[in-house]
Structures are given as structure tokens and as C-alpha cells.
Amino acid sequence: MAKNNILKDTIAIIRKDVMLEFHTREVISSMLVFALLVVVVFSFIFEPGEHEQQRIAGGVYWMALVFSGLLGLGKSMLSETSGGNLEALLLTPTSRNAIFLGKVFSNLIFMFALQAVMLPLFVILYEVNLLSDPMMLAVIAATTYGFVLLGTLFSLIASRTRTREIMLPLLLLPVLVPILLAAIQATNAMVAMSPLEDYIKWIRLIVVFDIIFTAISLVVFDPVVEE
């Protein structure tokens, strides 16, 4: 029997999730429509023709992403908890960390796929080129990672409560305050063409957040999944 290793199992789980999404097309499509809806509804705040919207474009972008991401996380965890698949995964010789990382990275892939479509549409609707500064890609990568990292952990916890739909945002949003604030501020600074030294502190903050909570999540995931 071949030896199990974390990398191989993590990839197997990601592959399974991507395949599942490819067949059902449930998660990304519903997230995308919802994200666009948030963007459109938010735009009613501004008077037409005003340039005010450029100043808060970063906020709208990240809020749309967070709200649709909450939907996606819940749905992605549902495929594990319904039918007892999580139990079955825990029965395999796979390490708990491979299961957790697999779920985190498949959620990350979904969120990146969502943004690949959303970014250009956002540029059209808001007349703001978010990608004018290449550092934006670093902000997107680090913030999305932090979001799905704690999002995956909390969606698992929320899925075992009596009120899972409401529990996920209630637990997740307060904890995510630092990186959401950082991502919004960094994005706004880039839209305003500020130099790197003005917003590098925000990127550092997001990276520190990601590192701290990666370590904590890997430690606490084991007791969370064990019955």
C-alpha cells in the first residue's frame, strides 16, 4: 500500500472539490451573481456622474467579496457534512491537516475564480482600475487566503450548530475586521495612486494575520473535527 502524505492527500481533496464544482456549478455561479448584486445595490448610494465612487471603490469590492464568500463557504462545507462525507474522510488514513488544507485551498480556488470574473466587471461598473498597481494582486491573494482560512474553520463549526446560516457571519466577521480594514485601505490607497510606502503597512498586517492564524488553525482543527 502506497504511503500517505499530506501533499498528495491535499491535492486529492482539492481535485475532488474542483470536479464537484465542475459537475454541479453551484458554488461559483451563485457567488458571482450575488457579488454583482451587492456591487449594483451599493452603487445606488452615489449620485450618477459623481467621482465619489472612486474613493470608496475598495470598500464596495471587498464587501461584495465577503458577503458572497460567506455564501460560498457555507455551501462548500455543506457538501462535506451532508451524506457523512466528513466522517468518511476522517476514517481514512489521511491526516487531519490534509483535510483542512484541502478544504482551504479549494475554497481559495473558488474565490480566485470568482474574482477573475468580478474584477473586470467591477472596473467597467465603477470606472476604477483596481489592477493599475500590481501590488493589488498581493493584497487580493493575502486577504482572500486569510478570509478562507478562518472561513473554512468557522464554517465547519457553524455547520454543527442549530442555526448554521446565521452563525457563520456572526463568528467570522468580527474576527476578520483587521484584514478587511487593511484590504480596503490598501485598495483605496492604490486607486488614489499613493506610493508603496503609504500602504505597505497594511500588506504587512495582512501577512502577519495570515501567518498567526494558519498556525493556530492547524493546531485547533484536530480537536474541532474529532467527535
Binding site: 456572526l170 475586521v177 483587521p178 485547533v220
Partner: protein, 220 residues
């Protein structure tokens, strides 16, 4: 027996110390020249904030102990501490605006300490809800412990992020007293002591209540 005697003493001390702290705040400490009588709220505002944040530390330590040892006491104390933390954060969030309005001219400001307290309030609220919505005691303890640990590491990062963003809060203690009159400092520490005793007394009662509840529901 000794333990219950100790807690009885703490209960009595807490009851006595609260009026003493009031006396110190209103009669011992001098009237602040610029802010006037409204500044008296400061003593209880700071004491509540101290308890509100210290409670998170207790929850954090108990959460780690629970994940390792799975004993009821650590879970009960973590839960008791979070519940009391929620209460004292509420006090901070109510006394803050009462003070801010006459002093800064606004009810609320997005300053680091106030905002961090607000986020901490949300984390405590999430904790209390999470406890409510899980029936299995073992699972409840585990999930809440995870939240307790994550919350503890999150709060300093929240504070840092808001400080990057904006700040106008007076720095009272950090800058070595920051112009605070010595008698005002005394009154502040008396209030801190009184509220800490109140916290211990309340936490003890909640832990005992949790234990009685469990015994009642698991009795054959």
C-alpha cells in the same frame, strides 16, 4: 470548606468595595477642571474596560486547558468569563459615549480602544450565541474554546489595525500617568480593585451555577 469561605469573603469585599470606589470617585478625587463632573465616569469606564479585556485572557487560558484536558471546570470558567466580559464590554460601550459627547462633542468615535472594545463585544456575543446553539456539551466546549483562542490572538491585531487607521483617545496610563492627578490615580486603582473583586465573585457564581445545572440534567 476553605474555598467557600474564601469566596464568601470575596463576595462581601466586592459588595463593600463598590460603594468605597464610588466614594473615592466622587469625594476623594478632585474635580477635573476642564471636563467637570462628567469625568467621574472615567473611573468606572476604565475599570470595566480592564475587566472586559482581562476576562478574555481568562477565557483564553481556560480554552487551552479545556482542549488539552477536557475537564468541565475549565469550560465552565471560560464560559463564565466570556459572559461577564460581554457584560463589562457593554458597560464600557455605554459609559464611553456618555463621556465622549460633552468632551469631544460626539457620541461615538472610531478610535482604536473604543473600536477594539466594540469588536471584542461582537466576539463575546458570538461566543455566547455559539454556546446557546450547540447542545452536546463536549462539542460546545471544544468549539467555544477554538473561538476563545482565536479571539484572544485577534484582539491585539484589531487594535493595531484601528490604530493604523486613526486615533484620538487620551493616553492615560501609558504615558506614565499622563497628567493625571495622584488622587485621581488612587481613585482609579480603587475602582479597578473593586471591579476585579466583582468579576471574581460573579465568575465563581456562574461556575457553580453551571456545575449545578449539569448535575441536575444528568441526574438519573
Amino acid at each position: 470548606m476553605l474555598k467557600s469561605k474564601l469566596f464568601f469573603v470575596i463576595d462581601v469585599l466586592a459588595i463593600v468595595m463598590i460603594p468605597v470606589a464610588l466614594w473615592f470617585a466622587f469625594f476623594y478625587a478632585p474635580l477635573e477642571l476642564r471636563m467637570g463632573a462628567i469625568q467621574k465616569i472615567f473611573y468606572f469606564h476604565v475599570a470595566s474596560a480592564w475587566v472586559g479585556f482581562a476576562a478574555l485572557f481568562v477565557t483564553f487560558v481556560c480554552s487551552i486547558i479545556f482542549l488539552i484536558k477536557r475537564n468541565h471546570f475549565s469550560d465552565d470558567l471560560a464560559a463564565a468569563s466570556a459572559g461577564i466580559g460581554l457584560l463589562f464590554c457593554t458597560v464600557v460601550l455605554m459609559t464611553g459615549p456618555l463621556w465622549a459627547r460633552p468632551t469631544w462633542g460626539v457620541w461615538w468615535t472610531w478610535d482604536p480602544r473604543l473600536t477594539t472594545t466594540l469588536i471584542l463585544w461582537f466576539i463575546y456575543a458570538g461566543y455566547v450565541f455559539l454556546r446557546k446553539f450547540i447542545d452536546d456539551p463536549d462539542k460546545r466546549g471544544k468549539y467555544c474554546a477554538v473561538l476563545g483562542i482565536i479571539g484572544f490572538f485577534d484582539v491585539p491585531i484589531v487594535f493595531l489595525s484601528i490604530r493604523f487607521w486613526r486615533t484620538i483617545h487620551p493616553n492615560v496610563v501609558q504615558s506614565g500617568g499622563g497628567g493625571l492627578h495622584p488622587d485621581m490615580r488612587t481613585a482609579m486603582f480603587v475602582a479597578l480593585g473593586a471591579f476585579t473583586l466583582l468579576y471574581i465573585s460573579l465568575a465563581n457564581k456562574r461556575v457553580r451555577l453551571a456545575k449545578l445545572e449539569r448535575e441536575y440534567y444528568t441526574a438519573e
